[in-house]
Symmetry: C2
Subunit: 235 residues, 2 copies
């Protein structure tokens, strides 16, 4: 049997991507979900997803779908896992490649496209999901904790300028634990990844906290360094 026939004799499948989109509003971690348009599923919320097109790579499909929803480009995007259980989609067998996205809530609010109805949900008020989406979400949360405990990934969820107390709130939300501000800021500053700005945050606290920005160059270089942000040591 020649090669082409070997290929042709195989079953083909639908391939989709689904995005687990995290945001942080200063208080708690959120997921961005969209309202499903399908008639008998009105009022159900779902992960944003889409089909992979004929000549499109997986990364391109994930970026495109995210762009369609948020109007944002150059988002932190990471492939997580592929789900392919024969029963996972009752309509027709579909493989879904889950992508993990971190975006800054402020950017999204500004760039909002109205093609989809979307809303941020706190992790503790998530709706019931279709298919295996709840598994995707819990694996994504686990991955976020794991990753954040080891890499300085948190910055992706914050605006360009941020304060140390904001960053601490974020890490507390990710780990679901309170952190000591003295130890936290020491550990953080020891990475030398932050550049202190002259400007202070106004309006939130009386004293005002200094803004910092990330040292992009060092951030790229040190990304694969273990940093061990985490109280305890287990995830």
């Amino acid at each position: 049997m020649d090669i082409l026939k070997q290929y042709e004799s195989q079953t083909k499948f639908l391939v989709a991507i689904d995005s687990i989109i995290f945001g942080f509003d200063g208080e708690s971690l959120k997921l961005l979900l969209v309202k499903r348009g399908i008639e008998n599923e009105k009022d159900t919320w779902s992960l944003m997803g889409g089909w992979v097109q004929e000549k499109e790579s997986l990364e391109a499909a994930a970026s495109r779908v995210l762009y369609e929803l948020t109007n944002l480009k150059d988002i932190y995007l990471e492939q997580l896992h592929t789900y392919g259980d024969p029963q996972r989609d009752p309509v027709q067998r579909t493989f879904s490649v889950a992508y993990f996205a971190l975006i800054n809530v402020e950017d999204y609010t500004q760039a909002l496209s109205s093609a989809y109805e979307a809303r941020w949900f706190s992790l503790d008020e998530l709706p019931t999901f279709l298919f295996d989406h709840s598994m995707m979400v819990s694996q994504a949360i686990e991955h976020l904790r794991y990753k954040a405990s080891q890499h300085p990934i948190g910055f992706e969820l914050l605006p360009e300028k941020f304060t140390i107390p904001q960053l601490q709130k974020l890490y507390e939300a990710i780990f679901g634990a309170e952190l000591d501000k003295r130890n936290f800021s020491r550990k953080l500053l020891s990475t030398k990844l932050l550049i202190k700005l002259d400007e202070k945050q106004r309006g939130f606290s009386k004293k005002g906290a200094y803004f910092y920005k990330i040292d992009e160059e060092k951030y790229q270089k040190q990304f694969n360094t273990f940093l061990n942000f985490l109280p305890g040591g287990s995830v």
Copy 2:
């Protein structure tokens, strides 16, 4: 447009799995590769792979393909990444889900099925690969280092009974670095995951090293604990 039509209007694709199979022979890390049967690719070696069947989950496909090659079941298997570049397979667009397998070389030698021609290759004598397989291999090696640095995964590559010097050789092969035997054995024994047996290894060294086996129950429980096996702290 109804749901079924939405599904039907989408392009379908071939879905395959490819396995990156690691083994350890006491000296160096190895990959198990198979000879390709295709005429004009004789004498080329490739990762073991296979198509995903119509009613088969990804995990099932990966286990089946591994079983066909090695006759082994209950292998350590982990999904790594999905590759889907439109150009990756020149014959026809195929998505490939890469799986990472750890097996014990001795088990394989005993269980050898002859349906495929297969051979172990040291990491430093790997052949040139087709498609994006060399990327899969390097990402798998990276993942093995990462995982082994944090989880006691090394046991999967050794026989049931093993000595501490064997385990040290394995970790040295994984990290490509020499380790201090005093520190290594202290760190290892402090996990309490090993059970010392009465028996000694004979024939290799004059004094003979004690065999150990793993405490399966604790191993399962502690699997998600960070153990920080690694000289330095970066991968």
